[in-house]
Symmetry: D2
Subunit: 337 residues, 4 copies
């Protein structure tokens, strides 16, 4: 019986987050044990610890959904991996391809670090189907940023959006999903527009090769001016809420708005005539499926995409890492084991 | 110089609508004269007359966008038609295929009976490109219902929605677009659910072969009960407004909501989590392009689709026909010349 | 330990096909035992028995890939089914969605009744993932025809082909896939053209509601005459071989040819200019994935599609059933247990 | 009445090609006069002069389909351009979007420098609809290479192929279409494999950033070795003929073969099992439509794509330019006026 150190909470509320020792289950049929090398944080990890997000958490609850690691042992029937393989987790286990799980009455939100246990643990024992091979060109810290933030941007722009060179892409902000969107759009030859309320962050975005930088106030007019009224073929609406109305103003005729987050509020609203006259597609992006993550991993290796990591913390510094999240990082926060 | 009788208004406001005599232009290069046999009414025709909808109307203004007629004469350079051909108009002249016209700053709303002159006239002289061949199996009254109401339903379900047999389609109401959606969905083997506040209209829908009839109050729960929580693959949201929130509840995981009208209000609003967790596509439907109308005409002939006409009026009865519109017809209102 | 009667061969060659008794394995993790109620035959079942088709058969080898039955017992971890559920098999186990298995060097041909054991057995023990729920509206004999022949036609026309009402569909012959194609095309409002060398079979096709019947000799000219030169939006090329050249002549500009069989030879050939000037899509159809089979099952129930069965045999009459296959059945041959 | 010098032939056969003076028509309704600045050559230009390719040529016949120039004068009704605008021609006038023109009986081959007059002329008078705006970032010689060779590669990989980063693209040869394919694939983050019989040309391809260079003999095995058996997601089959059989071996499961040329013969042939088991899409590419050319022009400007020009000739050197074509240029041959 193996034991592992893991960060966990015994009840809702982040104040209780601390390192506890836990037993690691031996791998059953189809399962494997993975030694965690790095995890990356998403803002939702904090929400889950704080209020549970309505999920049926099992305590002690280990938070965090995204990891990279090395296969330690495999159970019977596992053919996709062998000990020593480098892997990353999938955000929504069991969503292999196509639509999400669940139905209209009970839409799916069964993620790692949520309805399933999290990965802020030295070892995890999960079904082998919950993992994909890690990119060859990334270290563990970088690789750990792909399952949620990276895949979300890939699903929005590529798997659903079929982005092509010359398309105009508007990205809101400079968080993890936003900077992945910038890098993915750049790798496909798009013309990119980024908004931020921070002039300093916009300067850092310039370093990623983005020419069109827009202050958050008045960004729609800024975009329309720069494009001679055309608008954006793809709008990544990271905030949602009433800001969705601006996305509807900004989207090109026949364009696409990917709605990604809920920081702007749990209710979206906007102008029906904009939606009718321009006939854009509006699509909520619920991260994505395993097949798209495999596609994205391939792309990362081929184009040499290096995820933007604001700062790397050590395992013992998890609390500091979460505190950094609150300050709005430029890209991703990573914890290395 | 030919003259024609036409219904027109000399200034905004429907009270002024009356028959006036007008000169009909000879066809220029690429143009043709069409003798109108029938027109069909859309609710927007009333809005245009009442408040102009912000459009640059030229007075005397002839209302109504949809017509069927016979080619009377063609100008030089016209090769698609010859005198005697039976034709129908297109709602948005010049939109041949693909995305709509205009751009994000000035989205397109250049329709017949709006920015362009209307068709409630014995003759019209328009570019030949603005017409398509009428279906062989429909009379003029029936054919006149296709350009706006019919094509809207076709774009939502087929051209954009790729509906297939076995899909679940939820249609709101029993107006012109709604009943076309029912007939198109039936022709593709879909399972259809129709909502209405009128039990009598629901009974008439049953006569169109629809099994699942839902009272408007509580229709979302009714749908979810009937489908064991699955929801609808395609939701035709005819009203928009705050009712959009219900469409978001009703749509299946990975489904599609087509937003079609603005009767429910000029602002749509709904739950962001529904949009994120189920990742449906939401698309405003701005009628459609000429190529899709040609596809639809073919389909009408092959499947023997007969548009549902609530009542046919004579040319002189235009005022009564418009009054009928206010009472909420079952299907379409037609004026025959 | 349960035993079952099953038809099997101890070595290549159909002359050895006879009923043998065999032990039925208890269901392991994720597996289930299904009591077979009916199987349907495909021509490839004969080829496998005769020459093995290059597959690594395990002897005694039980032939046949398609079955319908009732779940008898489930192993641990099975959640999709429970005892008593009516199920049908999938032709290529493990292909859940998206592309086929394998790679360019070793393309996949791992089917039931081939690389995997077959189903001409009173009981089978397979992973639960290899089954889908049977249609509610079909008896076992009818349901058993869906996994290979039915799904092939569905993949060609719907999953890959996005058939819509008004499309012109050309179907070669009156075998199992062909008649499914006719019924699926009809359920979607298509205009259908069927070819056959048998006037009597064409008459039977008329009974399925098909108007355009074409003698096999000269069918391309027949089609082009009937369509005023347009051709067919979808060509189901059941034979392949040099007949592919005719499919290239027949396909409409921008149309689609689904290549389904190899009766016409293992080499296809045709005119490059036809392929270049008309730019059709040509796609080999390798049956399909489980998700599409689930879609098809839904469609069957909603539209009331009844598979065409030429004749039903009893379990003991398997040899006679195979002999019937050689004579070119009209639709499917079924064996009921 | 304006006159212009133009290269033309008075009858079939390239030996007659010489500079003649011709009158240039004033622009009619919807037409415009364009002053040619550069043209680029395609191999088909030679075939048309040599044997007419079965086309109804009007003599004296001016060859060549692709040009860049400046609008000199516009007729009534022209709104898309004004004098001074820089434009490029479209290869198949009148194909604005969607499928090609014509039908199955008479597939379309109505190109400039073919059924329509060519552009090896100091001035041309054509409908304004036959042009699109030139890229801002290319000179006239570069811009003239887009309408046929560039658009063909774009249609194959992007408009039809939805190429994404990480995809494996196999390009045959180093001619005009091939090198455009390389540059377009690179701009979208693909992994690229190029074949050639010339080691020297492969070295020049390396300079375009391509890592995987394959000798033409045995290229399929080379590709499969490099990809661990996976094959190529996109195969650009430039030659066709019996080489198509190799493309079928090389394509990945679920991949795509774009058939582009007929140098390998007017008959394609290949293995039906490859087509069935891997279920790739095979599509002939007939250049493309105007909307896709506009998309491509945008992409060229955004990604800074510079067409590869082997050599630029002066107007008077047209014969030398054509002679160069026979020797197999690396990229495009351009004639500047």
């Amino acid at each position: 019986m193996k034991t592992a150190r893991q960060w966990s909470i015994a009840g809702l509320g982040p104040q209780d987050l601390r390192i506890r020792e836990a037993e690691i289950a031996a791998p059953g049929v189809g399962e494997m044990v993975v030694r965690t090398e790095a995890v990356s944080l998403n803002f939702r990890d904090k929400l889950v610890m704080e209020n549970g997000m309505g999920l049926p958490l099992a305590f002690p609850f280990v938070p965090v959904s995204d990891m990279a690691g090395v296969v330690e042992a495999v159970g019977t029937g596992v053919t996709r991996f062998k000990p020593g393989d480098r892997v990353i987790s999938t955000f929504m286990p069991g969503r292999l391809d196509g639509n999400g799980l669940g139905n209209a009455r009970n839409p799916p939100y069964r993620t790692l670090g949520g309805a399933h246990p999290g990965v802020l643990s030295e070892y995890v024992t999960f079904p082998a189907d919950w993992f994909v091979a890690a990119p060859k060109t990334l270290d563990a810290g970088e690789a750990s940023t792909l399952p949620c933030a990276g895949l979300t941007a890939w699903m929005a722009l590529i798997e659903s959006g079929h982005l092509k060179a010359g398309d105009k892409v508007l990205v809101q902000g400079t968080g993890g999903v936003a900077l992945f969107a910038v890098q993915i759009a750049r790798a496909h030859g798009a013309e990119i527009f980024v908004t931020s309320s921070s002039a300093e962050k916009l300067e850092r975005v310039r370093g990623l090769g983005v020419k069109h930088l827009l202050a958050r106030d008045g960004w729609v007019d800024g975009l329309l001016d720069l494009t001679d009224g055309y608008g954006a073929d793809h709008v990544l609406d990271i905030a949602g809420g009433s800001g969705f109305a601006q996305s509807l103003k900004a989207v090109a005729v026949g364009g696409r708005i990917s709605l990604i987050g809920v920081f702007g509020g749990l209710e979206i609203s906007g102008s029906a005539p904009d939606l009718l006259l321009k006939a854009p597609i509006v699509q909520g992006i619920s991260v994505g499926h395993r097949r798209a993550l495999e596609d994205f991993v391939l792309a990362v290796d081929v184009v040499g995409l290096k995820p933007v990591i604001d700062r790397r913390y050590r395992f013992e510094e998890a609390a500091e890492a979460f505190a950094h999240l609150d300050r709005g990082p430029f890209g991703k926060i990573v914890i290395e084991f």
